[in-house]
């Protein structure tokens, strides 16, 4: 980022390649809309670019990056809350949203029968819905913790809370997930 600050456009390209996928995934899990997630991710990079001259490396770059992304995502979720309420959480998952998964399933279908495919689909749908039902801040904490593998200190800075509050937040989120995913958790335990 310091190279970007110095005007090195190539470094910005490197940042883009390195963080585009984590950012898009995080935002996609947050807003549950691929197009919107990509728009937000573009906005994140744009803000990074705009702020390059004033960037001060007081924290890890990822912390700063995901803090921007989280704020954008939380704002977006709050802005579209009423709009999203009109869409049933139980509505079938669109092809667009699960494009990546479909590719995986296409390969898997070669080895699995349709019944297995439906079971897998149901499991994923349950997991997605369980995450989706989490309050926004808990959802962000879980996503940053589980998928971005950021440490507690970083996540706490991103969410602008103490580490202790973050641990409590994560505990409540996992408790909710444990209840929501109880059937799958039981299966997981048996296996």
């Amino acid at each position: 980022m310091l190279d970007v600050k110095a005007g090195d456009e190539q470094s910005f390209t490197l940042l883009l390649h390195r963080y585009r996928s984590p950012l898009v995934n995080f935002l996609y899990r947050m807003v549950r809309n691929r197009e919107q997630a990509e728009d937000l991710a573009q906005e994140v990079f744009l803000r990074v670019y705009r702020a390059r001259e004033n960037y001060v490396p007081s924290a890890k770059f990822t912390t700063w990056l995901f803090r921007i992304a989280t704020n954008l995502a939380l704002n977006s979720v709050r802005d579209t809350r009423y709009q999203r309420m009109e869409i049933s959480l139980d509505a079938p998952v669109t092809v667009d949203a699960e494009e990546g998964e479909e590719k995986t399933l296409d390969i898997a279908e070669k080895h699995q029968n349709i019944e297995q495919h439906l079971v897998e689909e149901t499991r994923k749908k349950m997991i997605r819905h369980a995450i989706e039902k989490l309050p926004e801040k808990q959802r962000a904490a879980v996503l940053l913790h589980k998928y971005q593998e950021l440490d507690y200190g970083e996540i706490a800075k991103i969410l602008q809370c103490s580490e202790s509050a973050l641990k409590s937040l994560l505990f409540r989120a996992y408790e909710t997930l444990r209840v929501e995913l109880a059937p799958l958790v039981a299966q997981q335990g048996k296996s």
Binding site: L16, R20, V24, E38, Q42, F45, K167, L177, R178, G189
Partner: protein, 399 residues
């Protein structure tokens, strides 16, 4: 769930359990948790369930950004201005910018029309331009008024101050340009061209001897702004180059009342001015400006009543034909200056008597020895000369 006496309570486990599942605890913390878990089946179960939840979350596949993602980011970055300057707002709206610039130029033009001049009141310029004549030739206001002619109105087109008209034309043009640039409406420009051309360039017929006091039919078409009074600035037979564009000279030609207010709107007094009368102040040479300023100083020192008289003289002066003006300036004034006050007053008083007389009565008076009693032959000749000098009419030779 929790048990008293344990190394760590179940409530404390809440903050450690996830770190333990993820393997993020420090060694001493991990040992502490494991000690608790060894004696707490509930927490042990929760740990296992959290592990299961964590495993389930891993089942969700990752998605990849679309191929256009990078392009879009680069496009948005490229669209970012390198350095936003304060005038960058001009770029998105060039049409508005042009309109604003045109209007700004018009404003500057109007402003500079007075700023480029010496600090002289516009309405007094006609006085100051001819200050020497006006201050020394008192009988100007005693000169006979022109006799009205029946056909005067037919020959006189509606007139307006050339300077005022040019200013209106130019200002209107700028305004139309601004509007058309802003709105892209050709009609906006047309409105400028809709001015009656015959009033702007109508050639004048040969001068008329007499004029009606007012041309009410001509004024509404070319009424200049702020002008609610008569105009006397041009005579119909004035051969000055701008005469053809001036067409208000006959209006109010014989209305000496309200002269003070009217003179302020009569910047067109000098018959020798160039056609672009509105620029004459800007075109003054430094010497001329200095002269004007000197005259202004002298004029400013006069009492208001005398200033008013000077303005009235200026108004009469403006109605004189160039020949009459030259005659006064070159022939009459030098002689007038030589006269003692008593003789001047004698001539003035008689001129005043003759001023509104019919021609025959005037000649009769001039021939009457009683009327000119006590006057020298030189004074009588001067009186005769002046008494036949009808304001704005042809020279007295014809009379």
């Amino acid at each position: 769930m929790g048990r008293e006496g344990e190394v760590m309570s179940c409530s404390r486990m809440e903050n450690k359990i996830l770190g333990y599942v993820d393997g993020r605890l420090r060694e001493n913390e991990r040992l502490e948790v494991e000690k608790h878990l060894a004696g707490c089946a509930a927490c042990c179960l929760r740990v296992n369930e959290f592990r299961a939840v964590s495993g389930l979350l891993e089942e969700l596949p990752m998605i990849e950004p679309t191929a256009a993602f990078d392009l879009r980011v680069r496009a948005r970055v490229a669209a970012e201005p390198v350095k936003q300057s304060w005038w960058a707002w001009l770029i998105p709206a060039p049409r508005v910018t042009i309109a604003a610039l045109v209007l700004m130029l018009a404003t500057i033009w109007v402003g500079t029309a007075s700023k480029n001049q010496p600090q002289i009141a516009q309405e007094d310029i006609p006085v100051l331009e001819n200050y020497d004549v006006l201050s020394n030739f008192e009988p100007l206001t005693e000169l006979p008024q022109p006799v009205q002619a029946d056909d005067g109105g037919q020959q006189q087109s509606p007139q307006m101050s050339g300077e005022m008209k040019l200013r209106l034309q130019f200002g209107g043009g700028l305004l139309a340009l601004g509007l058309s640039a802003a709105m892209a409406l050709p009609s906006a420009a047309q409105s400028h061209n809709n001015r009656p051309p015959q009033q702007q360039r109508q050639p004048h017929a040969p001068r008329q001897t007499n004029r009606p006091p007012q041309q009410p039919g001509g004024r509404p078409q070319n009424k200049p702004p702020k002008n609610d009074g008569p105009h006397h600035n041009a005579t119909p037979n004035r051969p000055s180059p701008y005469q053809q564009t001036e067409s208000m000279g006959m209006i109010g030609g014989d209305r000496p009342q309200n002269l003070a207010g009217e003179s302020r709107r009569q910047p067109n007094f000098n018959p020798n001015r160039p056609p672009k009368a509105d620029n004459r102040l800007r075109n003054f040479s430094p010497e001329e400006r200095q002269k004007l300023q000197q005259a202004e100083r002298r004029f400013g020192q006069l009492p208001p009543q005398q200033q008013q008289e000077m303005r009235e003289r200026a108004r009469v002066w403006a109605k004189l034909t160039p020949e009459q003006q030259n005659h006064i300036r070159n022939d009459v004034l030098p002689a007038w200056k030589q006269l003692p006050p008593a003789r001047r007053n004698a001539i003035k008083s008689r001129l005043n008597v003759l001023q509104n007389m019919p021609e025959s009565a005037r000649n009769q008076h001039l021939s009457d020895a009683n009327f000119t009693r006590g006057m020298s032959e030189e004074d009588k000749a001067l009186l005769r000369d002046l008494s036949h000098m009808h304001v704005g009419a042809p020279d007295s030779a014809g009379e």
